[in-house]
Subunit: 351 residues, 5 copies
């Protein structure tokens, strides 16, 4: 369970006081990579840099600098960035902690957003990656655990100056990023919906314990999903209240999307409960069928066995035994009895 | 599942930035149709138009223009309308997105209402259609996914000047439209109630797994219904707060209706839970009956078979075998035993 | 189901615009009956009138006029009353709609209360009747679906000038009426409590599916009850905030009663859940007993049948068969086996 | 069920208007007893009086008068007290009504607290007694349904002037009384905890339906307990807001205790749910064991019976019958079969 | 159950008035131990003292005094400390009461925090210890039930002047302490996660009632955990509102951690529900398997036994008996029947 692994790492910080920058989470990358896109409506510069000193000289204050840091385990790098952009130590701690809850915090010079990027791996297990965004007046810092992301469309639009990105501030850029992340949620959610439908087919076909296990696994996944989304609802709502009406309209739109997704989730969760119900009752139905077979077989053959037993007795005086057609009469009677019982069971719908 | 289909289409927007008008949802209509009704208390004009340029010249600003656009998939048309009435781009995006959550938003010049029209198709599955209303001072834009709606009564009343419609503003017209939609909810809800009653009959009669499947299907439908209604409750409440007391009284009335319907829904949902309970317990009751038959048959015939087995033994010295009436005595004894057991089971209520 | 019937009628209004007075609900009375009691601390007049024109001349403005209209299906009468007392059209619509949710609305000149009168019919099914009260400064309009009510005590107290009724305003009269209605709730609730206790006895005695059906029926009834009471809680709370402290004290008292009743309901609902639990587990216990009987009979007689089968074999060389006491020895051994098994099952508590 | 009894009496008030003082509840005492303790920091007087006229002359206005009225069924006495201390008629009604919900009400000259004293009777059933406290500036009226209470410690402390009681006002005295009542709740709660533990033992030992019945009974009791405590939480919270900070600190402490107790209750309720789960699953486990015994016995002896049946056939030509050791070979084969099956079932853990 | 023990002791206070300092809870320590650390940014003094008189002279008012009292059962010591630092009597009572709910209270000169330290003992049972913190301007009193704690890291950081501790006030010190306690919660929570995973393995392997018992035990433990955490959420939220923004940022961080932990708990609780579902259904699956074995054995051998019974009958005229190969023909037929039935059951997936 991915959850546990994180926890284990989380508590490894125990003993270290707060204010000390320590990475909490799996180390998913060897070296920190830093990409810089520097733009305003008239110019655009792009650099892949390896040390932050380099980056330092580049980010001029008038233009918007989008700095994308891949890898959050290197305290030294994080500290330098924090120092340059004057970021509070607790924010830096949250950035380095991959278990930070989705949230938004407003500071004098910047807003800090922490959220989860979600995707399903090949085993259909939910894979979460921490994304931290610090959006100031002229800069946007973006911290990811791994390199490789879904934001190339945004970069392309900046490069080609498509849309209104280049003329807008960093909060708008943050909105674009969040929009991509939340659209990914919906893609993940669709895959869940497909999975649930497959599970429903499975339940109706067979009743191996495996099926129940998969259902319960899915329930856990949905719970995990919910944990990523629910705090974000409130967080984005906070942004809509804090920002100017002009930009907050966009965030209000995001808020609608996330609520839509959250309602989807609630529906999936109810569908899982349905599935468990279905599973249990199909177990019962099958048990019922087994019992009916047992009862029909027993009810037909046990009386017959009794009858043939009678004529297997060794009494000296048993007149029927000496009738010439005794054997055939008895066989005929038993046949009548079988027909009668089959009819009875057919009427009772047991056959 | 209709829900999934929508989702699939929803995420197809992924990669496109916000602010770009893209249709999300099934394309349910070939060409966009635009109907215009232009009226005030003294005059009335009605036009079916094919291109919006035409419509452009018609909508004079003093009279109330009710523009009904059937089809939300043509970005070009939506954009033109948006430009003419000065509608925010995000609103236009919501209009084109058939998965938009029911909601109300107030802008300087207009209010935007998004909601679902519901009807049951021939398979008793819930069919939802997106309805968007933009009500300004002198105009009301209404966007539907398909042509054909339930608003002909309103149109007729405008034409015949019945009621107070002609002398009232666009917010009152919006109220009339919402009233029809919500009355349709109640009609749908009645059909659900009938379905639930039929299901109850089915459960009491037979226990095929099909029945449970229908019950769970119904639970999903109700959940879907709930998703259309619940956000609307809050949305209409918002309207009652924002509009003047004079008109908000009408919306307060709508609010009462929607809460009434929402309570109906809650009741149906509880009835579904009842049905599942009933289903499970009727499974158990039937299992019980099967077991009783098995036990009665076994309990009567197995001991008898044992007795006849005794006298089938081949011991040299078995005195009873040589009694002249041994056979008849044993047969009589077994009859007594059967009578005794039948009595016992009758007393235990197993027969 | 009474609920459905109402719904069916409710949607029959579909197509008619709002503002048109149409009766929604069963027509329970042939003619509308209007009773008038006109009083102040010094005088008292009482009239049964058939047309409202008559009533018109009678209700002098200084005294308090309690006008009791039995029958809400005649739009003409309702309209006249509305015109005379200047009642909003939407209030009149609510008055004529027997599915209106319990609620309170305050207007400039009057307050409008809508609630349900409850009683159990001979089949112990919940019977609801719509009661609408419009309480102005000097008048109180009371609309019932049927003639015959529980308010004769109040009328008697007005006639005999008992209590402080005559010297008080219409809001106090409304309070007296509500007090009677809510006291009736408690009477109904007591009958529910008795029913639940009877059901508990039934469950412990027998397990027919009928019993479960009655329990689930009761659950529906309680849900219906809840729907009448829960909105009233909030409504009466609203009154306590709107009225002067002097009179609102009385309504606060009503509020306490209704909350008390609502808590009773919650308890009954939990008791129903208990009953369902009890029902299911008593089904299981009975199944267990049936299985034990089956197992005991089988375990005793199947091995014995095997033994007698052995000595029914026809081998040439079976020494035991020729022992003089072989038969008796085997019979004795089987007796020992039976005693041993009975002991075993007794120890296992299966007998 | 005590609840019902109360209800029955409650509705016996039906027909009587409000404002008429009528006792609602069981009459638990023959005569009303009134005890008076009159004290300030310097003096102390104590009287047991039989008529309130007597009491009238005693309660001087400067000192604090603690008047303890045992018995709430005598309207005459209640009315006199009400008149003397200027108590609102609705408060007096609540005092005489043993079904009043726990609550606090503030009036100009006094605060009115209504709550339940709880104790478990010898059958471990929850016994509730209504306690009403009216605390004014210099007086505290305390109404109980029966004589005999848990407040002797407080009386003793007043007499011996222990603690700060004598120098404090009536609100502090009210706090002391509430503190004793809530401490009693905790004592009752402990007994519930013990009962639950006993029930857990019972479930693990046997599965009589009685056990489930006791569990469900306990659930009802806890629900009853909850109804006494939950409204009190809010009531005491109200007091902390209304009183001065100096005294409200003490009530805040009470609030903590009552929340602690309320959380205990929630835990007990969850433990009851656990017990029901345990009960049901232990039923299933036992059923499983019964089925295994049945299956083992059947699986071993039915094939054996078949084999011996074969050699009981009367065919002319059955070579085995004439083998000299045929009988012993068959017996040996059957033994091998039994050993094999026993092994199989042991591996399957069915033995 | 630890809970009960506490309760028993809690109610032992019954009869003693409030304002009297009495220890509630187990006495876990013989002698009270008091440790003092006195520091500012320039100096540091450390003393282990046995009587508070000694301590009295040491705590100079300019420096920050961290006084750690191990043992809360000695009323005399608590009273002296209370007197010196001017602590309210109710706070001292809470300090001495090991059942106090987690909470925060603000007084003029200090804030009072009460919370639980958690750890799992060797039997994986939750062990709670009461921790009370009173943080004033220049002092921090810390009360524990036992000596030995997890705060040595903080002490070391003060001694070595690592971090910013020495230059900060007592509220920051309180934050450091809370941070350690909450980090411990997370460590405990990880162990729970491991336990739950082990239980899941157990359920899938065997179905002893023990497993269910462990699951339900775990559910109780989680409930206990929840009771320690949930009130703390609100308490820390209160601190963030009351303190200055500078320091409250740190507490906001704590708030995030505690909410994260609380969400973990919710997930564990849902996983427990999953486990119970899994347990029950695996019981059913096993029952199903047992029934199938029974049915297969019965269905094959009971008809065969009937057939051999036929040829054991003693009729004079049974032609088959005299066929030379009659015996072998019948044996062959039975073999065919067996093969047919095995096929049938294999197709039905019962083998």
């Amino acid at each position: 369970m991915a959850k546990n692994k994180k926890n284990k790492i989380r508590s490894s910080k125990k003993g270290l006081g707060p204010g000390s920058l320590v990475h909490v989470g799996e180390e998913r990358l060897d070296n920190v990579k830093i990409k810089l896109i520097d733009y305003d409506s008239s110019m655009l510069e792009e650099h892949e840099i390896t040390s932050f000193e380099q980056c330092n000289s580049l980010s001029k204050s008038e233009t918007i600098s989008w700095i994308d840091i891949d890898g959050i385990h290197d305290a030294h790098v994080i500290e330098q960035i924090g120092a340059k952009f004057n970021i509070h130590i607790l924010v830096l701690e949250d950035v380095m902690n991959s278990t930070t809850r989705p949230k938004v915090e407003f500071f004098d010079d910047y807003m800090f957003i922490s959220l989860k990027m979600l995707e399903l791996d090949q085993n259909h297990l939910l894979n979460t990656e921490q994304l931290s965004i610090i959006a100031g007046k002229n800069f946007l810092l973006m911290f990811q655990e791994r390199s490789g992301d879904s934001f190339n469309d945004i970069r392309e639009r900046i490069r080609t100056s498509k849309g209104k990105v280049r003329g807008r501030n960093a909060h708008y850029l943050a909105y674009l990023i969040l929009d991509v992340v939340i659209d990914n949620y919906i893609a993940v959610s669709e895959k869940f919906a497909e999975e649930i439908e497959k599970l429903e087919q499975k339940v109706l076909q067979s009743n191996s314990e495996n099926t129940l296990h998969s259902i319960l696994e899915m329930r856990k996944e949905l719970l995990d999903f919910k944990r990523s989304i629910d705090p974000l609802k409130e967080a984005i709502n906070t942004i809509t209240r804090e920002l100017d009406d002009d930009i907050s309209k966009y965030y209000r739109d995001l808020h609608d999307h996330i609520i839509y997704e959250s309602e989807n989730l609630a529906m999936y969760r109810e569908m899982i409960v349905n599935l468990i119900d279905l599973y249990h009752s199909s177990l019962s139905v099958k048990m019922n069928q087994v019992m009916k077979v047992l009862t029909v077989i027993t009810s037909i053959f046990v009386p017959l066995t009794f009858i043939v037993g009678i004529y297997g007795m060794n009494f000296d005086n048993m007149p029927e035994l000496h009738w010439p057609n005794g054997y055939f009469i008895i066989m005929g009677l038993m046949l009548v009895l079988v027909v009668f019982m089959l009819n009875y069971f057919r009427k009772k719908n047991w056959l």
